[in-house]
């Protein structure tokens, strides 16, 4: 979309008064929320020149004329006797010196043009979400994801291990990557706050005597109680696993969205050999928990909100059938490549580290990304698919800060979707985008070894989007070669997957809440003589239309393409790459 959100969830009439921004049950779960819809329904762009408030002398007629547009062109003006001056539209020297990019204009505050606009009710709770308080729900979902990844799933593992060995590895990694840094951060923060308190009270925080009298050590321990408890529980659990003593019954500690109660394995379960399943090993697919199918091919690097939102996007937005296809593809690739590249096929998400820290991507992503500027670095890349088998998504300070999906707020910077002190903002939908690239290859072309986006049908759709896309069609999708069609496929798949089949309602005064479903003529003959053949515009089609600035009939074409693809894959009419290879 071309605009940032105008409506906030807090403006909802049913938003609990006094709850600040914490009334998460009204938050968006999949991006297609009422605030988004209300924002999108507001007036779109005006076609015309932008006044800059500057003037310049025309080099042709010498008159002082206005400068318009971000590229700094002279406005259209006449010479004497009403003859149009040829200097109209020329770029001024001053603007050229500024690199062709004018300073950003302050936008006038915008509100709803029509005070009658009312927000529709929040969307129903979808599969996977819980009905209880949203924070608790997040923790439950988090635990479910973690439990899912603790199982080998369908991965062919090279080294078979007991579940105990497997758990020891998991807990060691958790202590090193999550609990340790969280405790360290909490201690630093507590120390900083106490020093501030002492200064406010007129005490010298550097004086040992003053610190003893203030009770700094006890105070730090009090303020980091939860983090220390979580660490202690993990250490106790690890010790019990190693010493083969009974596993302590732990309640879990509320800390960020980690510190969940651990699964209580029995002794017998811990001694089980965790064999891996291969693709052929039957494991019932649960559409309510589609991420389980990845098992340990899904790598959850930390417990930040960035990671949570990326997983939320995967679970809520992607049709289960697509998960099945990608999981089978990843499992077939697992360990098949050897060497230093792409050994561990899977999906990797991190909110605190970079792509270079995931799997063995640091060995693959060397040098400068091709086509990037002199300062371009791989650590600034948000998402990548390597070897068509490793998808990684990381939080980067370079992601567009203006628009990000926030499930709900948290006071902990460590869990706030990247560290806001570093200017980091979450961009979890990169997950859906990179998943789109994986899926593109996993389905594959029916005529060649390429991706499905290389097929003629999609190339025709892409060509039409480029031809008919308006000025709001991003140049990113107009790239030459395979890049444009591939990027459009991944992006459009993500939008199609997140979209809703609810009709766009239209009424002269109240465009969103009530009215008749918006309809669009198909151009085909109608069954009713004298009437146009019409299709109802859904929010999914509307979103595609707005995203690429294309007429509704082109948006319908994209929508129909993915509808058909999904239906054919689900019914088995269309085979995936693996199925065609007989694997």
């Amino acid at each position: 979309m071309r605009r940032t959100r105008i409506w906030n969830e807090e403006q909802h009439p049913r938003w609990p008064r006094g709850s600040g921004d914490k009334a998460g049950e009204f938050r968006d779960k999949n991006g297609a929320d009422w605030a988004e819809r209300a924002s999108l329904s507001l007036p779109a762009g005006r076609y015309g020149s932008i006044p800059t408030g500057q003037t310049a002398q025309c080099p042709v007629c010498g008159r002082t004329v206005k400068v318009v547009g971000t590229s700094g062109k002279l406005s259209t003006h006449n010479q004497t006797k009403g003859v149009r001056c040829s200097g109209s539209g020329q770029v001024t020297t001053e603007t050229q010196r500024a690199g062709g990019v004018a300073a950003r204009r302050a936008r006038a505050p915008r509100g709803p043009k029509n005070p009658e606009i009312q927000a529709p009710p929040p969307p129903p709770v979808v599969i996977g979400a819980q009905h209880d308080h949203v924070y608790g729900a997040a923790r439950q979902r988090w635990q479910r994801w973690k439990d899912g990844t603790a199982e080998p799933g369908r991965v062919v593992k090279q080294n078979e291990k007991t579940r105990r060995e497997w758990e020891i590895e998991n807990v060691e990694r958790e202590i090193k990557q999550t609990l340790g840094p969280a405790l360290e951060y909490a201690q630093q923060r507590a120390n900083r706050e106490i020093r501030q308190d002492m200064e406010d009270a007129g005490e010298d925080p550097n004086s040992i005597r003053a610190r003893i009298e203030w009770g700094v050590r006890d105070e730090i321990e009090r303020r980091t109680k939860h983090q220390r408890q979580a660490m202690q529980q993990a250490l106790d659990y690890l010790k019990a696993l190693r010493d083969r003593t009974p596993i302590p019954d732990q309640q879990g500690v509320r800390m960020g969205i980690g510190g969940y109660p651990r699964k209580q394995w029995t002794e017998d379960e811990l001694e089980e050999m965790v064999s891996a399943g291969s693709i052929g090993v039957p494991r019932e697919f649960d559409p309510a928990h589609p991420l389980d199918i990845y098992g340990d091919m899904l790598h959850i690097d930390d417990d930040t909100w960035f990671t949570y939102q990326a997983l939320d996007t995967l679970e809520q937005a992607i049709p289960p059938e697509f998960h099945r296809i990608v999981a089978a593809h990843l499992a077939s690739e697992f360990g098949s490549r050897g060497g230093a590249t792409a050994r561990n096929a899977g999906i990797y998400v991190t909110g605190t580290r970079t792509l270079l820290d995931l799997d063995q991507l640091g060995l693959v992503l060397t040098g400068k990304p091709r086509g990037w500027g002199k300062d371009g670095k791989w650590r600034d890349v948000s998402g990548v698919v390597s070897g068509r088998a490793v998808a990684g998504v990381a939080n980067t300070p370079n992601s567009n800060p203006e628009r990000y999906v926030q499930t709900f707020s948290t006071t902990s910077p460590a869990a706030g979707g990247g560290n806001p002190m570093l200017g980091q903002k979450p961009d979890p939908s990169a997950m859906a985008h990179e998943f789109g690239h994986l899926l593109d290859y996993a389905i594959g072309s029916q005529r060649s070894s390429d991706s499905v986006s290389s097929e003629r049908l999609w190339r025709l759709v892409h060509g039409r989007v480029v031809r008919e896309g308006g000025r709001y069609l991003s140049p990113y999708f107009k790239q030459k070669g395979d890049a444009g069609p591939e990027e459009l496929w991944a992006d459009a798949m993500a939008i199609w997957a997140r979209g809703s089949d609810m009709p766009v309602l239209y009424n002269e005064n109240v465009p969103v809440v009530a009215g008749t479903p918006m309809q669009w003529p198909t151009g085909k003959p109608s069954k009713v003589p004298g009437r146009a053949d019409l299709r109802t515009v859904t929010w999914r089609v509307h979103a595609l239309s707005r995203q690429y600035d294309i007429p509704y009939d082109v948006a319908f074409e994209i929508n129909d393409y993915f509808d058909r693809l999904h239906k054919e894959l689900e019914s088995g009419k269309r085979k995936t790459r693996l199925q065609r290879q007989g694997r």
Partner: protein, 69 residues
Amino acid sequence: MNLEPYRRPDGTVMVPKRAQTDDGQAVGVGFDELQSDDEQYSDWLDYLEAIESDTGVTWDEKASGQIGP
């Protein structure tokens, strides 16, 4: 993902860029500073101009001719 370009406080323009290794084995996306030698430089400037002038057309104007009976 959110592929909209944006301006940093220092005035530089950040645009989404396809990132690729030399052997083409890894393909990704991230935001990089817009350079004047970028082959899509003028496209990005036009696009920026479009999204930054996004203030007009009313719902009725936008929807005219698109609404069925």
